[in-house]
C-alpha cells in the first residue's frame, strides 16, 4: 500500500510537469499579450516567485541526479566486491530518490506555470526556439521515472547472478537519462547567458538554429560543473540524512549503520568538491571569452563581494569536513598517533580561509582610506590578490587530503618491506607540492596579470598530481596491511553529526549563491544583449536581499527534505522493528526448543 502511494505521488508529479509543458507551449507561443503577468503574494513579486520555484526545482533536481550516481557506484562495489552492506546502502539511497523525484517534478511544474503566466512573452520566445528539445525533455522525464521505478522496485527481485547485472545496468540507464535531461535544461539557461553570435532583439526566434542555441559558449562548462556539483550535493544530502538518522537512532546497530553512511556521503561530497574548482575555472574562462564585460561584472563589478562570501562558505566547508574526519579518528584504534598533527592542519586551514576571504579592494570612507594610506590596505592588498588566494586554496585542498590520508591509515600498519620508503616518498611529494604551490604564488607577484593567471594551472596540476601519486602509493602500500583494530562505527559524538548537517546546509546555500551569480551576471537582460528585461524587477539585487531569498529557498528545501527523511525513517524503522521482533521471537522459540544456533543480528535484515 505504501509503495503504491509513493508511486502515485511520483507519477502525479511527473504528469503535472508534463501537463504544464503540454498546455503552456503551444498556446503561449502563439498568442500576443502583455510582456509580464501580475503577481503579488505576501510581498513576493513575480521575479521572487520564479526565483524560488526555480531554485527549489534545481535543488531537488540536483539531488535526484547526484544520488543515483553514487548509488550505482556503491551497488557496483557491493556486487563485484561481494559485500552486501554496500548493496543495502545503495538501496537506501535510492529509496530517498522516490519522494525527492516527485518533489522535483512538482517544483518543475510550478516553475513552468510561473514562467508561462508571469513572463508569457519571454516564455513564448524560448518555446519558439527550444520547443523540440522540450518535448524530448518531457519524454526523457518519463523514461527516467520508469527506469527509477524498475531500479528500486526490482532491487530484491533481481538480486542474484545475471539479473543483478541487469539491475545494475538499469541504474546506469537512470543516470544516463538524468544526465541528458540536465544537459537539455542547461541548454536553455546557458542560451540566456551566452546566446550565439549575431542575434539581435529583432531576430525572429523561429530562425534561431536549435543546435547552435543549445551548443552555446557556456553550455558544456555548465554541464560539467553541474555534474560534479550534483555529486557533491548528493553526497552532502545523504550525509545529512545519515546524520538525522544517527541522531534519532535507538539502537547501536542503527547508529553504526548511519555513522558509516554519513562517512561515505561526506567522503563523496568532499572528494568531488576538491575537483569542482577546476570545472569552475573552465566555466569562468569561457564566460570571459564570451564577454569580457560579463566576466568583469562577475569578478570585478558589483558582484565582487560575492566571492568573499563564497570564500567564507567554502572555508566553512573545509573546516567542517576536516573537523568531521578528525572527530571520526576518535573511533579508530591507532589514530592517536596522528592527533598531534591536527592543530597544525587546523592552523593551515584557518590561515587559508583568512587569506581567501581577504577583499582586494574595499569601499571605505576618506578617513579609513587615509588611515590605510591608500585605497588598498598596505598589508591586506598583498593577500587580496589571486596569487595569494590560489596559494591558500591549494594548500587547503592539500591539507584536507592529508586529513583523509591519516583517517585512511589510522588503523592500518603496512607490512610491505618498502613501507618506510613509501611513507618518506609520500611526505616528499607533499613537501614538493607545497613548495611548487608557494613558489608560483610568490612568483605571481613579479609577473604581469596574464602570466600570473597561467600560474594557477601549475598550482592546481601540482596538487592533483600529488593526490594521485600519494593515493597510488598508499593503495599499494596498504595491501594486506595489519589492522590495529576495527573502526568502531557508531561511536561518534553527536557534534560530528551536526557538522554533517552544517555541511549540507552550507553546500545548499552555496549552490543558491552561485546560481544567483550565474543568473545575475546577465543583469537586465533575459537573453544577454539580445532580449532586454523591461519589467520593474530588471535590476539585479544586492547581495543582502539575494541572500534572504536564498535562505528562504534553503529553508523550504530542508523542510521538505526533512519530511522525506522522516518518511525514509518510517520505512527503515519498520524494517528494524520487524527484525527486532523476529530476533526476539527467534530467541524465544530457540529457547523453548533448546536450539544452540546463534540468533540473527539486526545487520542481517534489509
Amino acid at each position: 500500500m505504501k509503495r503504491w502511494m509513493t508511486r502515485g505521488v511520483v507519477t502525479r508529479g511527473v504528469l503535472l510537469a508534463a501537463l504544464a509543458l503540454a498546455v503552456a507551449l503551444p498556446l503561449l507561443a502563439q498568442v500576443p499579450g502583455p510582456d509580464y503577468g501580475e503577481f503579488n503574494f505576501l510581498g513576493l513579486d513575480r521575479r521572487g516567485a520564479v526565483w524560488i520555484a526555480a531554485q527549489l526545482h534545481l535543488l531537488f533536481a540536483a539531488f535526484v541526479l547526484g544520488v543515483p550516481m553514487f548509488a550505482v557506484v556503491i551497488e557496483a562495489i557491493g556486487m563485484f566486491g561481494g559485500d552486501e552492506k554496500y548493496d543495502k546502502l545503495a538501496k537506501e539511497f535510492t529509496r530517498l530518490l522516490l519522494v525527492a523525484y516527485s518533489a522535483t517534478a512538482i517544483w518543475g511544474a510550478i516553475l513552468v506555470f510561473f514562467l508561462s503566466t508571469l513572463y508569457p512573452r519571454f516564455w513564448a520566445y524560448l518555446t519558439a526556439i527550444f520547443a523540440p528539445s522540450m518535448w524530448v525533455y518531457a519524454g526523457l522525464f518519463f523514461l527516467e521515472s520508469f527506469t527509477l521505478y524498475l531500479y528500486y522496485y526490482g532491487w530484491d527481485a533481481w538480486k542474484k547472478g545475471a539479473a543483478k547485472k541487469v539491475h545494475w545496468c538499469l541504474g546506469i540507464m537512470l543516470n544516463i537519462w538524468g544526465t541528458i535531461v540536465m544537459f537539455i535544461a542547461n541548454g536553455w539557461l546557458t542560451y540566456m547567458m551566452s546566446p550565439p553570435e549575431g542575434l539581435t532583439a529583432d531576430t525572429a526566434p523561429q530562425t534561431v538554429q536549435l543546435w547552435s542555441a543549445i551548443n552555446n559558449a557556456t553550455w558544456m562548462p555548465i554541464n560539467i560543473h553541474r555534474l560534479l556539483a550534483n555529486v557533491v550535493f548528493g553526497g552532502a544530502i545523504v550525509g545529512a540524512y545519515a546524520a538525522y538518522r544517527f541522531l534519532t537512532s535507538r539502537t547501536d546497530e542503527e547508529r553504526a549503520h548511519y555513522d558509516w553512511m554519513g562517512y561515505t556521503g561526506n567522503l563523496i561530497a568532499i572528494g568531488a568538491l576538491i575537483v569542482l574548482p577546476f570545472a569552475g575555472y573552465w566555466l569562468g574562462r569561457e564566460i570571459y571569452e564570451f564577454s569580457q564585460q560579463m566576466g568583469i561584472t562577475m569578478m570585478g563589478g558589483f558582484m565582487s563581494w560575492l566571492w568573499i562570501i563564497q570564500a567564507f562558505l567554502i572555508g566553512i566547508l573545509f573546516l567542517a569536513g576536516n573537523y568531521y574526519l578528525w572527530i571520526g579518528m576518535g573511533r579508530i584504534p591507532g589514530a592517536e598517533r596522528f592527533q598531534p598533527y591536527i592543530k597544525w592542519m587546523l592552523l593551515v586551514l584557518v590561515l587559508g580561509v583568512i587569506v581567501w576571504a581577504t577583499p582586494n579592494t574595499m569601499i571605505a570612507d576618506r578617513d579609513e582610506i587615509a588611515a590605510m594610506g591608500g585605497i588598498r590596505h598596505p598589508f591586506l592588498q598583498v593577500l587580496g590578490v589571486m596569487s595569494a588566494k590560489n596559494t591558500a586554496v591549494n594548500l587547503m585542498i592539500l591539507t584536507t587530503f592529508l586529513s583523509f590520508l591519516m583517517y585512511r591509515r589510522a588503523n592500518k600498519d603496512p607490512v610491505v618491506q618498502w613501507a618506510r620508503a613509501g611513507t618518506v616518498l609520500q611526505g616528499a611529494a607533499f613537501a614538493l607540492c607545497a613548495v611548487v604551490v608557494v613558489f608560483y604564488g610568490v612568483y605571481g607577484y613579479f609577473v604581469t596579470a596574464i602570466v600570473r593567471i597561467g600560474f594557477s594551472v601549475y598550482q592546481v596540476l601540482a596538487v592533483l598530481a600529488t593526490i594521485l601519486f600519494v593515493i597510488g602509493i598508499d593503495m599499494a602500500m596498504l595491501r594486506g596491511a595489519k589492522s590495529r583494530g576495527e573502526i568502531r562505527w557508531g561511536r561518534m559524538p553527536d557534534r560530528s553529526q551536526y557538522a554533517l548537517l552544517i555541511l549540507a546546509v552550507t553546500f545548499t546555500w552555496l549552490m543558491g549563491l552561485m546560481g544567483f551569480a550565474r543568473s545575475g551576471i546577465r543583469q537586465h537582460w533575459h537573453v544577454y544583449e539580445v532580449i532586454r528585461d523591461t519589467s520593474e524587477q530588471a535590476f539585479t539585487p544586492a547581495l543582502g536581499p539575494a541572500a534572504t531569498i536564498i535562505s528562504i529557498c534553503v529553508l523550504i528545501f530542508f523542510a521538505l527534505v526533512g519530511f522525506i527523511f522522516w518518511l525514509g525513517g518510517l520505512a527503515e524503522r519498520s524494517v528494524y522493528r520487524e527484525a527486532e521482533a523476529n530476533v526476539k521471537a527467534g530467541q524465544e522459540g530457540r529457547a523453548a526448543l533448546g536450539d544452540p544456533m546463534p540468533a540473527p543480528s539486526l545487520g542481517d535484515v534489509d
Binding site: 561584472t297 596579470a449 544586492a542 541572500a547 529553508l555
Partner: protein
C-alpha cells in the same frame, strides 16, 4: 529535543549566512536608461538625468565619494558652490569645474580630473550641473542654458571634423597623452592616477594588444584594476586619428613615440607636468 536541535542548527546556520551577506557593502546593479534630452525639461528632471550620468556613464563615482581621489560631493556641493569663488555664481563655478578642472583644486586632492567636455555633450554637462546644484542647493540651470547647450551640441555634430593628422612627425606622444587626459587614471614616469595600470607596464607588449586596449578598453581587463573596469571611455578611437594612435602605441610599447620633437619611452618621461591631466575638486 533532538529534532529541535537539528532545526536550530539549520536555522542558525542560515541566519549566520544571511547576516554576513547583509553586513557587507550592498551594491545593486541598476538598469541603464536611454537618456533623451529636450529643451523643455523641468529642473528636477534635468537633475535626475544628471544623477544617472553621475553614477553611470559619467564615471564620476570612480573618484568622487571614495575618499582620497576626489571629494564627496553628495549633499554638500550645492550649498557651497556659490561661495567658492567670490563673484562667481554656483552654476558658473560648477560648469567651470567640469570643463576646466584644474582651475580650482580642493586642498588635499590632486589634479587628476579630466575635462568632462571630452566625454560628455554640453547638454549632459548641464544636467550634471543641475544634479550637483540639487545636492544641498537650488537648481538654477534654466531652459535658456539648456537650449543653448542643445544647439551647441547639434552644431558640433554637424560641424566638419577637425583635420586628420596624417604626418607622424607632427605628433608628440607625451603631449597627446596629456591632452587626452590619460594621466587622470594611468601614471607615466611616476606621475598620474592609480586607478589603471601605469603606462610603463605596456613596454614590450604586443602593439596590437595595446591598440585594442585603447580603442576597446573592456577587451582585456587587468585583473588588479578590475574594480575600476568600465571607467575608461571608449571614445579614444574616435578622438584620435589612426596616425596619432600609431604614434601612441609605438610610444607605449617602447618605440620612439615619433613626433617632430621626438618622444620619450615610458619610464623616461618624469618631466610630465603633474597638473597637466586635470584636477579634482
Amino acid at each position: 529535543m533532538t529534532n529541535l536541535k537539528i532545526l536550530f542548527t539549520v536555522v542558525a546556520t542560515l541566519a549566520v549566512f544571511t547576516f554576513v551577506a547583509n553586513v557587507i557593502p550592498q551594491v545593486q546593479s541598476a538598469v541603464p536608461r536611454e537618456i533623451v534630452l529636450s529643451a523643455d525639461m523641468p529642473p528636477e528632471e534635468l537633475a535626475a538625468i544628471g544623477e544617472e550620468i553621475y553614477a553611470g556613464a559619467g564615471g564620476c563615482t570612480a573618484c568622487h565619494g571614495l575618499g582620497t581621489r576626489a571629494p564627496d560631493l553628495l549633499g554638500v556641493v550645492g550649498g557651497v558652490c556659490a561661495t567658492r569663488v567670490p563673484g562667481q555664481s554656483c552654476k558658473d563655478y560648477l560648469w567651470e569645474s567640469l570643463v576646466n578642472p584644474t582651475a580650482y583644486i580642493v586642498e588635499g586632492f590632486d589634479p587628476i580630473m579630466i575635462d568632462q567636455s571630452i566625454v560628455s555633450s554640453q547638454a549632459e554637462l548641464w544636467t550634471l550641473v543641475a544634479f550637483l546644484q540639487s545636492q544641498g542647493g537650488e537648481i538654477t540651470v534654466n531652459a535658456d542654458d539648456f537650449a543653448a547647450a542643445l544647439a551647441a551640441d547639434a552644431a558640433a555634430a554637424s560641424a566638419p571634423p577637425p583635420p586628420v593628422v596624417t604626418d607622424p612627425n607632427q605628433v608628440d606622444a607625451v603631449a597627446l597623452i596629456t591632452a587626452q587626459g590619460c594621466l587622470a587614471c594611468h601614471a607615466l614616469g611616476g606621475e598620474g592616477g592609480m586607478v589603471a595600470p601605469p603606462f610603463e607596464e605596456l613596454r614590450g607588449q604586443d602593439p596590437a594588444f595595446v591598440r585594442e586596449g585603447i580603442v576597446d578598453p573592456m577587451a582585456t581587463i587587468n585583473e588588479e584594476y578590475s574594480t575600476f573596469a568600465g571607467t575608461m571611455p571608449t571614445i579614444f578611437g574616435d578622438l584620435m586619428s589612426p596616425v596619432e594612435l600609431d604614434v601612441l602605441v609605438d610610444f607605449f610599447v617602447g618605440g620612439s613615440g615619433a613626433g617632430a620633437e621626438g618622444g620619450e619611452a615610458p619610464g623616461d618621461a618624469a618631466e610630465v607636468p603633474p597638473d597637466s591631466a586635470g584636477g579634482s575638486r
